[in-house]
Symmetry: C2
Subunit: 203 residues, 2 copies
């Protein structure tokens, strides 16, 4: 059975709980509290030298880090990742977009506003830039969703999961989705998928 | 023939020139000067709503954005991307690492120090953090390379290309690789691959 080293509050970790649940893959959860430094111990760094969660330990003892790479691994050959070469590239395109143009603003704003005690005050000078760039990412998503129901290959895939997790709690970072009706409709379509789980779900 | 919308000075664009050259894929280059706003025109935004280079236009008129997604598309089924499922996940793991934990510090420091006129002065307060986090990324690479010649599957792949481009010009951002002998040896191995090209190469 796979082991997921995870922090329950992390959207990147939620990606893997959601993917494994929807694929019917059993797994064991091991909680890692990054606020207590548990991802920086020598024991944890032996699993992931980059010291981050999620880290996925496969049932054969090998490790995969980076949430989107682990999702890709789990989803290959399933309905959550298109077979078509171009559609697979589209899925990756949106997953790289998520990690470079979306997560560093929308997830990071949430982290400092909601997760880290005192973070809002400590990082107050950064919020204007995070909001500007986060809204720019939401605008790019809105534009795509004006002509498509999902992000890659016309069907629900790991690209949707990647973008869903932090978008669906963007308000925690101070974002208002009122001006992004296409994004809101898509969030509802994702939440309506079979075997969808909430952020708090534990196996 | 594919068209690569590209800025010659951009490492992310160099990834695709190098990949297509090594795979023997002919392509046409169209220069886009982001400093002059050419990636933000309505015409360009129709190609890539995120307004970034590289953007790859396939010979059938479809577009792929995000350098690492486009490399994955081009390399599927070739020696530059392992067939093995775990090795492919490793390649993606390092490519996501590159975009999240490496590029935002090592490439961004180079951009403001070397490419953008006046950038070093304008962003001087950011360099300490960029250097701290950039060196942390180099440390993670060094640790991996202490036990492996390449990043994924034991062979040269697009994961190496992704990490090579900004690492090989890290000194432009004020980084010194003297303390990273494994990284320096690996840079030489990458530069010694058949059909390797320099940053300035044009088809």
């Amino acid at each position: 059975m796979h082991t997921l080293y995870s922090m329950q509050d992390s959207g990147n970790c939620f990606k893997l709980r959601l993917t494994m649940t929807q694929l019917g893959i059993p797994y064991r959860l091991e909680d890692i509290d990054i606020l207590k430094g548990e991802s920086r111990t020598p024991e944890f760094l032996a699993r992931n030298p980059n010291g981050k969660v999620p880290t996925l330990e496969l049932d054969d003892g090998r490790f995969i880090t980076e949430s989107n790479a682990a999702m890709f691994y789990l989803a290959e050959g399933t309905a959550l990742l298109p077979d078509d070469r171009f559609a697979r590239a589209q899925a990756l395109q949106w997953m790289f977009f998520e990690q470079y143009s979306h997560e560093p603003y929308i997830a990071v704003a949430r982290f400092w506003r909601k997760i880290m005690p005192g973070g809002l005050e400590l990082k107050k000078d950064f919020f204007p830039e995070w909001h500007e760039k986060g809204y720019a990412a939401l605008d790019v998503m809105e534009r795509h969703l004006s002509g498509a129901d999902y992000f890659a290959g016309g069907t629900y895939s790991i690209a949707d999961i990647a973008l869903y997790v932090y978008t669906h709690m963007a308000d925690d970072g101070g974002f208002d989705l009122a001006g992004h009706p296409g994004v809101r409709s898509w969030l509802a379509r994702v939440a309506g998928q079979p075997d969808h789980i909430d952020m708090g779900y534990r196996p």
